[in-house]
Amino acid sequence: MSIGRDEVLHVARLAELAVRDGELDRLVEQLNRIVDYVAQLDRVPAAARMAEPFVPGPRSVALREDVVDPVPLARPPAALAPEFADGFFLVPRHGAMEDS
């Protein structure tokens, strides 16, 4: 299987990663190298593969009782945020979101 330039750009868009100028060709080559390498899993016969995925750790999730007890913040959101005002995180206005 081989990944083309358009596919790399599509995936980069899904991952919200800007691809730098002049970087694309090398990325295409490297991703193909990696994907070709991992494709060797095709050599494991389908019949041999386990139906149930393996997940290490507890078999079932331990639940938490419904008690208000958040892990406290040693510094407030305002101290973390790149842009913050009146208690809100701020981002550039997104046109398509205005109706929602």
Binding site: V35, V38, P53, P58, L80
Partner: protein, 460 residues
């Protein structure tokens, strides 16, 4: 010795170790404050006044946590990792935050936004990775113990390269709360130390259920190790897939002498097979990037971290600039691979298949252990430490440095890398692997072998 005195000495060693570039954050003031806290403790904890370094992907309130990435430049966590709270309660001094491959993605600590870490024995070589900073600090004698994290061998492999003990617990044994996630189904906080006993003591303090981490197993902490191990009556398996024809001669020789030591100590050595282990690296390079692509989506420049300025001034442009500029090349590669293998039309061909093969890899281990084998012995790495720049051009060649450690991570098993001699002056590691949650057996055997192994001797 008082913690304050330890803090001063540790500070002096940290300052002297600066050429290694193993440390990202430390200050004498913080170290002194840690010491004052420990000296004021009413009861002397089991790790009182032990200075310990943390890989820079374990969060603390006092120091930045950058994961060696520009995208977390200057980030100060508002909470502290569970393991750090537990270690501090036992008397540990947090000495420094160590350099690493960015977001723990790498096998050489060359993929750090803050420069590569030098191998303590040869600055032209790499210390291994991704926890290379922690490995180098322990190897250089700056701190007796350091924490790293493993996703696919990131502690055992650098421990092997640097000639120290590297211990990875079972998945679910130690809380991940406060460990910055890379591959959540694989990530394990792990330990570097100068000897097996120290690793056991640190593990005993760190281990146990954490209500803040749903993947920890509901079991009591591991008891403090007794230190007296005995190999008599144990059956130790040699999985043939881990001893290829083209194994580095120095590594082969070190493993040969380790086998002899084990036999002399009264254990029986048997040949076994883990037929799916050769698929561990390709499986890993689907599972880990897929999980990473989601785990790293939170670095979007909205709530914390530096923000990139997109050309269009809108939100997408902000995302793409923040992430495009903030992540280094290897991290971006893995995010793209992880996004690709999960994307519509490819999920079954890659992610689902990898999950199925992962189950086969884990089942191999279960079958061998169920057949009466107590532990497995393998090389930790296919070669001793390689030269800086040797594998950076081809990502896959770098991935293959983890060929003997990946399967254990996929199977969630505990394992330890022991210094097993030197080849042309460079350390070689031997890896012992135990069944799930059998850390006590693992550490007892490792301690017995450690006492008998000539770790500093040339093997050929």
């Amino acid at each position: 010795m008082s913690a304050s005195a330890v803090a001063r000495e540790t500070g002096a060693r940290l300052a002297a170790a600066q050429p290694l570039n193993a440390v990202l954050h430390w200050s004498q003031d913080l170290l002194d404050a840690e010491a004052a806290r420990v000296d004021a403790m009413r009861t002397r904890g089991p790790l009182a006044a032990v200075p310990l370094a943390l890989k820079d992907n374990i969060v603390t309130v006092e120091q930045p946590t950058t994961c060696a990435s520009r995208i977390l430049e200057g980030y100060l966590s508002p909470f502290t990792a569970t393991v750090v709270n537990r270690l501090r309660a036992a008397g540990v001094l947090i000495a420094a935050k160590t350099n690493m491959d960015e977001f723990a993605m790498g096998s050489s600590t060359e993929h750090s936004a803050y420069g590569r870490v030098n191998h303590p024995a040869d600055p032209a070589r790499v210390p291994g990775g991704s926890s290379g900073g922690s490995a180098a600090l322990v190897a250089a004698g700056v701190v007796p113990v350091a924490l790293g994290s493993e996703t696919g061998g990131s502690v055992r492999q650098p421990a092997s390269f640097c000639g120290v003990v590297g211990m990875k617990p079972s998945y679910g044994r130690v809380s991940r709360y406060g460990l910055v996630a890379f591959g959540s189904s694989l990530d394990c906080i792990s330990i570097f130390s100068r000897n097996v006993m120290d690793a056991g003591r640190v593990l005993s303090v760190m281990s146990g259920h954490d209500p803040l981490d749903a993947t920890t197993v509901d079991q009591a902490p591991m008891p403090m190790p007794s230190g007296l191990g005995d190999l008599r009556g144990l059956r130790i398996g040699l999985p043939r897939e881990y001893y290829p024809e083209d194994l580095d001669p120095g590594v082969a020789a070190a493993l040969q002498s380790t086998r002899e030591v084990i036999r002399d100590l009264g254990a029986e050595i048997v040949d076994v097979s883990l037929p799916h282990s050769p698929f561990a690296v390709p499986t890993y390079y689907i599972v880990a990037p897929a999980e990473a692509a989601a785990n790293l989506a939170r670095y979007d420049g909205v709530r914390y971290g530096p923000r990139g300025a997109g050309p269009d001034g809108d939100i997408r442009s902000l995302y793409q600039a923040t992430r495009g500029e903030g992540f280094g090349a290897e991290v971006r590669r893995r995010i793209l691979v992880g996004t690709y293998v999960l994307s519509a039309g490819y999920y079954d061909a890659y992610y689902r298949k990898a999950q199925q093969v992962r189950a086969l890899i884990a089942e191999d281990f279960q079958r061998v252990f169920a057949s009466g084998v107590d532990l497995l012995l393998t090389p930790t790495t296919p070669t001793p430490a390689f030269r800086a720049g040797e594998k950076t051009a081809d990502p896959v060649s770098m991935y293959l440095a983890d060929i003997f450690v990946c399967a254990i991570s996929l199977a969630g098993l505990p394992a330890v890398s022991l210094p097993a001699g030197r080849s042309e002056g460079l350390p070689v590691g031997a890896q012992l692997i135990a069944p799930y949650f059998q850390e006590e057996r693992l550490l007892a055997a490792a301690a017995a072998i450690e006492r008998a192994l000539p770790a500093e001797a040339e093997v050929r």
